[in-house]
Subunit: 189 residues, 2 copies
């Protein structure tokens, strides 16, 4: 199983954004939509061995995490608006500390990065990290930030985690996921 987790620093947990203005009303939730799609989608289907965790960290005290699970997703369209609608639906249902399904393969819980770090061993995507092509053993779980840098608190939580980069240029998070998955595909892992 491969995992990607993306921190949306401005995206709130309430889901009260407009599908007609994902970047503005959604606190750059368009970034999270693209990351979910680049994690899950191939040209002719879904990556069944990938999970994508979108952390809505816009309100630090009330964070939520939406999980896309390739093994059970039944339909996912590649356009941002459709994925935004799925996230909106997930955020609209009551949830506690345990993931609760809002659509097939999509679930939501309270909590954010801290909880994820207790469950999985992430590597961090970072322009100063080791090149993914140069490492013998590629990690299976990657943590990315949205258009903002990790906060001071997050930096504390992730200090010591291995860091990897995807090449000489700094890419958007969804682009970095696409490049990562291509390397994983090539290694057949």
């Amino acid at each position: 199983l491969k995992r990607f987790a993306i921190i949306g620093h401005q995206a709130g947990p309430s889901g009260d954004f407009s599908l007609n203005d994902l970047p503005g009303s959604g606190g750059r939730i368009d970034i999270l939509c693209r990351c979910a799609n680049s994690s899950m989608l191939l040209s002719h289907g879904v990556r069944e061995d990938v999970e994508c965790y979108l952390v809505l960290a816009g309100d630090p005290e009330k964070q939520k995490t939406v999980r896309f699970s390739g093994s059970s997703i039944r339909s996912l369209s590649p356009d941002e608006r459709s994925t935004g609608a799925l996230i909106k639906k997930a955020l609209s249902i009551p949830c506690g500390d345990v993931f609760r399904e809002s659509s097939p393969g999509i679930s939501v819980r309270q909590g954010g990065l801290k909880e994820l770090l207790q469950e999985f061993s992430f590597a961090v995507l970072d322009e100063k990290g080791e090149d993914i092509r140069d490492t013998d053993r590629l990690p299976d779980s990657f943590l990315l930030s949205d258009s903002r840098n990790f906060t001071e608190e997050e930096t504390g939580l992730i200090s010591g985690l291995p860091a990897y980069s995807v090449g000489p240029e700094v890419l958007h998070a969804d682009q970095a996921i696409t490049v990562l998955l291509n390397e994983i595909d090539r290694r057949g892992i």
Copy 2:
């Protein structure tokens, strides 16, 4: 200069689509939006040495081509809807056989694949092509299709062109462009 051309087989030339329904009303113009963005955008700016040609081939007799030029684009947002609005604006202005600018760095003309092939030497992105990592000399101009295969007429026009693939999995066109640009970045070309 690197060039990407993407054929939108269902996207019409009139621009009378709704920004609230790019896939349906726009004939999968969401694909062209994503391809323009993956061609042009880095995390912190625009790729000044890239041109992206979107061919609106939904009406074979009245095709148009919208060109994004990284060297002169002044603002481009990474969300699909913003790029859809720029394409809509380009399609709304009268144009002839020569590119006419509709926004800074974005222009439009009549004509499609046939005209492009007369101007540039394209390689075709094709799952059966040579792996881009295995070739000594990477081409600088790539032709891609949207979610549909090339038509019989297009296949005739492009027969004989070199073909390249980006890896073991078949990706969406915008994902393939991201992987291609990563290989180009790494070679420093």
